[in-house]
Amino acid sequence: MELINYVEIVVGVLLIVLAFLAINSKSLIKAVMFLSSMSMMSVIGFVLMKAPDVAVTEAVIGSGLVTSLFVFTLLSVRKVGNKA
């Protein structure tokens, strides 16, 4: 029982640190990567709070699809910037 408490504290601290890094990092692509890893941490949080349905959904959508949408936006923009 005590081990789960420690895991909870580690996950909570990591969530806050990753969110802070995502907001404050200068490079946009690094910020998106921090958001993705934060989403992975929140999956562990959902599993610790006994919500397997939400954990599966967040693992597929939060760290897969949303990250890819951000990356595609940045990629298309970088190409236009080269042309100009």
């Binding site: 995502a22 949080g45 959902f46 919500a51 939400v54 949303v66 949408l69 923009v77």
Partner: protein, 111 residues
């Protein structure tokens, strides 16, 4: 304690929306706030030593102590709506870039 971490995440997301001057960063802060809210709503229904709300051969009656399933159902739909709003916001950001050539709000006003 995950509930307090969720509240701090909501505060961090609001701070990001208020201070950032980049369109992508604003959408990103909105996502952080959404993750914090989802964690908070799930934490409302958590019961210590509760069982995940799925009946299996090991947990086979309804008289056991289950975790509250209602917040989980609400969050399940909220996550999918979140990807829709994020995609719409990113589409608007892409159109902004094709018009002004930048994501920074301060540089747009100069043109």
């Amino acid at each position: 304690m995950l509930q307090y971490a969720a509240i701090v995440l909501i505060m961090l997301g609001l701070y990001g929306i208020l201070t950032q001057r980049n369109v992508i960063k604003i959408i990103l802060s909105l996502n952080i706030m959404e993750i914090g809210l989802n964690l908070f709503i799930i934490s409302v229904g958590y019961v210590t030593d509760g069982i995940a709300p799925i009946m299996t051969t090991n947990h086979n009656t309804n008289s056991l102590i289950y975790v509250d399933p209602l917040p989980q159902a609400l969050v399940l739909t909220a996550i999918v709506i979140g990807v829709g709003t994020t995609a719409l916001g990113l589409a608007i950001a892409k159109n902004i870039y094709s018009k002004y050539g930048t994501f920074e709000l301060d540089e747009m006003e100069e043109e």
